[in-house]
């Protein structure tokens, strides 16, 4: 590959990232020295045993947690140095979230849940409607717009969450075990959707998963164990100790 000569610039450059938790006066290191590049358009799967720090790493990348050391450059901006307000704005414009338990607002309909991030923008109600309808059509839930989360199956809820994740057209989608709570069939639907977000919409995706089948969708898989990253067979990334 000619990429060796002129590597595509990384969208996310993680350098020497470290994070530990304090538990009862004891410091428990979770991530020790993570260095990783994610290029624009990548679909990266993060695997590893439970408690290995996958969620911790994902949360740092998504800008909802702060590391103890190291940097995370997103498109050249070190997000670890942003203040709370700036980081919130950055997330609103840049990151789409997909959670294991969907995290929809139970009091809002599917439509309103998807619309929620757009209320932070200057879009008119009309424009918002067009976006929300398109996003719900994309996830195949046009017929379910007026339903509340409790009236939807887990798979449908996760698809609503995916529509919410892409509504403000973020460059990065982070997904923490998005199929972890779903049956086979729903999981397959959700994974197919994630794949489309990556291939059709060009979204960069970082997805934590336990699931082999889920991992197959990713173009690259990294393993996290004992605070360190290692590459799998068919990955483009390199891991640095």
């Amino acid at each position: 590959m000619h990429a060796a000569e002129r590597p595509a610039p990384a969208l996310i450059r993680i350098r020497n990232l470290a994070k530990s938790y304090r538990r009862g006066g004891q410091v428990v290191p979770v991530l020790t020295d993570i260095t990783l590049d994610v290029r624009a358009g990548d679909f990266l799967g993060l695997m590893g045993p439970s408690g290995s720090g996958k969620s911790t790493l994902l949360n740092l990348i998504a800008g909802i947690d702060k590391p103890d050391a190291g940097e995370i450059l997103f498109d050249g901006v070190d997000i670890t140095r942003l203040g709370e307000r700036e980081l919130a704005d950055w997330r609103a414009g840049t990151v789409g979230f997909v959670f294991q338990f969907y995290n929809l607002m139970p009091v809002l309909t599917a439509y309103e849940n998807v619309e929620l991030p757009l209320t932070l923008t200057r879009l008119s109600r009309r424009e918002r409607r067009a976006h929300v309808e398109a996003a719900l059509a994309l996830v195949g839930l046009s017929e379910r717009m007026a339903h509340y989360p409790a009236e939807l199956s887990g798979g449908q809820q996760q698809r609503v969450a995916i529509a919410r994740a892409i509504i403000s057209d973020p460059r990065l989608i982070v997904a923490d075990e998005p199929t972890g709570d779903l049956d086979r069939h729903s999981a397959a639907e959700v994974l197919a959707l994630m794949d489309r977000l990556n291939t059709d919409l060009g979204k960069t995706i970082v997805m934590v998963t336990h699931d082999r089948r889920a991992a197959e969708r990713a173009h690259a898989i990294m393993y996290l164990d004992k605070g360190e990253l290692s590459t799998a067979a068919d990955v483009h990334e390199r891991s640095v100790r």
Partner: protein, 385 residues
């Protein structure tokens, strides 16, 4: 828009919990209003006192009278427009619990001074003609279903024996806060009877009521009156009617203070209930608040959701509580009859009720609101699993 939707739907999420909280608020706000109204009623006499009116009484104590002869001397003081006088009768109508004030007055000067007692002219003339006649207030008439022409027997306490009066007129109040629970009859009739029965002292006056020409001169005139009788057998104490009334209220002030404290204790209790509800609510929703923050919503937005919900509940409770105060107040007023002459839920009380509800709504949301606003996103999200 989305904000209001979230607030209102969140408030209705646990219908029973919200309903019970609102119910508590309704009871608390209504009780607070009633207790405040009772306190207000206590001061009603003082509040309705005219600034130009003075009361001259025996300096030693109200139980000692003053000679009738003081009348003309007081009238001669510069700045005095008119003088009237009254004796407290303290009779019992049927049953001691039927308390209402009975005053033997000099009718012409008295009703000339108390212009807010509206007496029909014909009836008043009939009253003047009948020395055993009486004028009673509308509330008193309604309480005991009395009408003009009825005979009203009183059992005397200060003035022993049975006294029979014929109701010749019923007065209405010029204002809502005018006391219409009183009974008036002729001072002359009282005096003659005392003379005739040969018991007690005749020609003795309980208090003098003095109308001054200028409210600004009230203090000066008071001093002049008291100076007149210094070193006499019956020295006088003259003060404004307002001060005189407050002096009465002072005797029962401990009770009024207790009622006032209880009214705020009620508010404190509902605040505790409400704060507990909001804390419970916010704790359950930490994951949602964390999600909102992850999506880019500010801590202030999250806090505002909780404040909004708390205020919405408080507003509904306050509105219903205030609305309930009026019918319950009417019922209460009927029950206590003439014991509390003026029982009116004032605009000030309603404002105070609204203010208390607002304070409860805000205060209940402070701790949960701060907690939700400050929750670390990753901690909040972990609360889901």
């Amino acid at each position: 828009m989305q904000f209001a939707k979230l607030v209102l739907r969140n408030a209705l999420r646990h219908k029973l919990r919200t309903a019970l909280t609102v119910l508590g608020l309704v009871v608390a706000i209504a009780s607070f209003g009633l207790l405040q109204t009772v306190v207000g009623a206590w001061y009603a006499g003082a509040e309705s006192a005219a600034p130009t009116r003075l009361v001259t009484r025996n300096a030693v104590s109200l139980v000692f009278p003053l000679p009738l002869g003081y009348r003309d001397k007081i009238r001669s003081v510069d700045g005095v427009r008119s003088v009237s006088y009254a004796n407290w009768f303290a009779g019992i109508y049927q049953d001691p619990k039927n308390f209402f004030p009975q005053l033997a007055v000099e009718p012409r000067t008295y009703f000339d001074m108390y212009r807010d007692y509206l007496v029909p002219a014909d009836d008043f003339a009939a009253f003047l003609r009948d020395r055993k006649g009486a004028v009673i207030g509308r509330k008193l008439a309604d309480t005991h279903r009395l009408k003009v022409g009825d005979v009203m027997p009183l059992r005397g306490t200060i003035y022993p024996g049975t006294w029979e009066f014929t109701i010749r007129a019923i007065y209405d109040g010029a204002e809502q806060k005018t006391d219409t629970s009183q009974m008036f009859f002729h001072w002359d009739y009282l005096n003659e009877t005392v003379k005739k029965r040969g018991r007690g002292r005749a020609d003795q006056v309980g208090i003098y009521l003095v109308d001054v020409t200028d409210a600004d001169r009230a203090a000066e005139v008071s001093q002049a009156i008291d100076a007149l009788f210094r070193n006499s057998l019956a020295e006088t104490l003259t003060e404004t009617e307002r001060a005189f009334q407050i002096g009465f209220v002072k005797q029962t002030e401990a009770l009024v203070v207790a009622i006032r404290i209880v009214s705020y204790v009620v508010i404190a209790i509902i605040l505790a209930v409400m704060a507990n509800t909001m804390a419970m609510t916010a704790r359950e929703r930490l994951a949602e608040y964390a999600t909102l923050k992850a999506l880019g919503f500010s801590p202030a937005f999250v806090a505002a959701l909780i404040f909004g919900e708390s205020l919405a509940i408080a507003a509904v409770g306050a509105a219903a509580g205030i609305a309930l105060t009026f019918p319950v107040g009417d019922w209460f007023a009927q029950r206590v009859g003439t014991l509390i002459p003026v029982f009116e839920v004032s605009a000030q009380t309603v404002a105070l009720q609204a203010l208390c509800a607002l304070a409860v709504g805000v205060a209940a949301a402070i701790i949960p609101g701060r907690r939700a606003a400050r929750v670390r996103i990753v901690e909040g999200l972990r609360a889901v699993g």
